[in-house]
């Protein structure tokens, strides 16, 4: 290190820069700390309300009791959670295959897109809860629930991927034409990579929706079927006025939703971090 460099290192930092760095440090910690504090305060407030108003635990349990129920009933609840997650994952996987597959077919044939896209929209805007009872009549419970979750989850993947496949740079399209690219080469080397960020955006939405679809379909299936997913547990606990267990199951569903979102976001980050603007952190 030369003398000039040492002087530079010792020199006091520009006050504006120093303030910016302090702000960044504060933001980094605050991003985690502030939501945690808010959560803790809400739980504390909930506990106080129950205690002060002397609300019985079969109406509103104290948060401690919910945590205890989660612990005691863990074996039952966890096996239900796994059933719901399996259904949601199966639906999501089918949504990815179906959504991307249909989107690719649509870009290969405009006629097919014109013929079928309106019906995909109709399927999407019809509330799944109103279709579910019918599907449950015609199919066994588990495939019916998967189908319901699929109906909800596949549309964002289809519409996003279709948009992405059609959003290729027009100059690159010309370049592929000039170099005599085949249909397959155009799809493989131009359209699919262009569509990747759009697809991943759809995937993040579809991940959450597949869980919602699974839970809604389980509710529609009710306790009559062979269902033993989390929605079944909530219904069952509700009939028995086991309110703490209802809360415990609710927290598990929310946790599962967060986990799916985190996972799809992470996958998206891994796939895009090298080249896409959304995954690049600005220097300043």
């Amino acid at each position: 290190m030369s003398i000039a460099d040492e002087r530079l290192a010792e020199a006091p930092m520009d006050p504006e820069e120093a303030a910016r760095q302090r702000r960044q440090r504060r933001d980094r910690i605050g991003r985690w700390l502030v939501p945690l504090v808010v959560g803790a305060l809400a739980i504390w407030g909930w506990d106080r309300i129950v205690v002060v108003n002397e609300i019985p635990h079969y109406i509103l349990p104290r948060p401690g009791l919910v945590a205890k129920t989660l612990w005691i009933d863990w074996a039952t609840l966890a096996s239900s959670l796994i059933i719901t997650l399996k259904v949601a994952c199966a639906a999501l996987l089918a949504a990815i295959i179906g959504g991307v597959g249909i989107a690719v077919l649509f870009t290969q044939s405009r006629w097919l897109e014109m013929a079928l896209y309106p019906y995909a929209v109709i399927l999407q805007v019809t509330p799944v809860i109103s279709i579910a009872p019918l599907i449950l009549i015609y199919m066994d419970t588990v495939p019916a629930i998967i189908l319901c979750a699929w109906i909800v989850a596949f549309f964002p993947i289809l519409s996003n991927t279709t948009l992405g496949l059609n959003s290729t740079d027009h100059n690159l399209r010309d370049l592929f034409t000039i170099y005599g690219a085949t249909r397959w080469q155009r799809l493989r080397f131009l359209q699919l990579p262009s569509a990747l960020p759009y697809f991943l955006g759809g995937l993040r939405i579809a991940g959450g929706l597949s869980l919602i679809g699974a839970v809604v379909a389980e509710f529609a299936a009710g306790t009559g079927g062979m269902g033993a997913g989390l929605a079944f547990r909530i219904l069952e606990a509700g009939y028995r006025l086991n309110i703490p267990r209802m809360f415990a199951a609710l927290f598990l569903i929310a946790g599962a939703g967060v986990a799916i979102y985190a996972l799809t976001s992470f996958i998206s980050h891994l796939l895009l971090r090298k080249w896409h603007e959304s995954a690049i952190k600005r220097e300043v």
Partner: protein, 262 residues
């Protein structure tokens, strides 16, 4: 190198033919005449600039030559090998691919494996001065460097004709001058023919030996100028009296094309 040779109009017109536009016209819709009756003999080794105001059909002419659109009148005939390289106004790189993979693209579309064309890619990158950037992604490069990758991609197949559509218009002047100098050196090295669309008089005079002046509404060719100054042209040429004289006559021709008093 042919550097010290003199260059005159006779030498230019004696070059072997590459392709020819024969009274080519293009009409969009019913009555939007983008180009009318364009005749142009492109000879091997030419550096032709298409110079004119917006709407004069120079980009249409380029798209016709590239085969992206087809003439509504006249025809295009190839006498030499029809191998094209293209550089657009934007670098037009695939953001998900590395520099090396972007340059590989024309070969890849011809089903050539990367291993089999490794040497060609390396040579093209060396030509544009980007050796060592093989693994970089486009977002990591400056505007000028991205344009160099785009040029490397156009040159990697050693095409007979390179079409350039205002490639340096969006760059700052310092970068543009540097790329102009380098482009001439690259052209000398691979010995291709270039058709270069520009709306800069200075750029067209510095780069080309033939300037085709075009006018708008309808798009058409007004006249052709010859810049019979020997290559390689360097910074010295940019400050010479000959350069200034050519710029003046090109400007005057452009003014005539736009219907203004000279």
């Amino acid at each position: 190198m042919s550097g010290t040779e003199t260059l005159d109009a006779a030498t230019i017109s004696a070059r072997p033919p590459l392709m020819r536009l024969d009274q080519v016209g293009k009409t969009f819709g019913r009555d939007v005449v983008a180009l009318r009756g364009m005749a142009l003999d492109v000879r091997q080794g030419d550096f032709i600039s298409l110079l004119g105001p917006s709407g004069c059909g120079k980009s249409t002419a380029l798209r016709l030559i590239a085969g992206l659109i087809h003439p509504s009148a006249g025809r295009i005939r190839w006498d030499g090998p029809q191998e094209l390289g293209v550089v657009f106004q934007e670098p037009t790189l695939m953001p998900w691919a590395t520099v090396e993979d972007n340059v590989w693209l024309p070969m890849r579309l011809k089903h050539r494996s990367k291993a089999s064309v490794k040497a060609d890619i390396a040579e093209a990158l060396e030509l544009v001065g980007l050796t060592g950037f093989e693994g970089a992604y486009p977002r990591e490069l400056s505007g000028g460097m991205k344009m160099r990758v785009s040029i490397a991609r156009a040159m990697v197949t050693k095409p007979s004709l390179i079409l350039m559509d205002e490639p340096f218009a969006a760059l700052d002047e310092i970068t543009r001058f540097k790329l102009n100098n380098d482009l001439l050196a690259m052209k000398e090295k691979i010995g291709c023919t270039v058709i270069f669309v520009t709306h800069s008089v200075f750029e067209s005079v510095f780069l080309s030996d033939r300037i085709v002046i075009m006018a708008a509404r309808p798009g058409r060719v007004i006249e052709e100028l010859t810049v019979a100054e020997p290559y390689p042209r360097t910074e010295v040429f940019r400050t010479s009296a000959e350069y200034a004289a050519h710029c003046r006559s090109a400007s005057e021709a452009l003014k005539r094309a736009m219907g203004e008093p000279v």
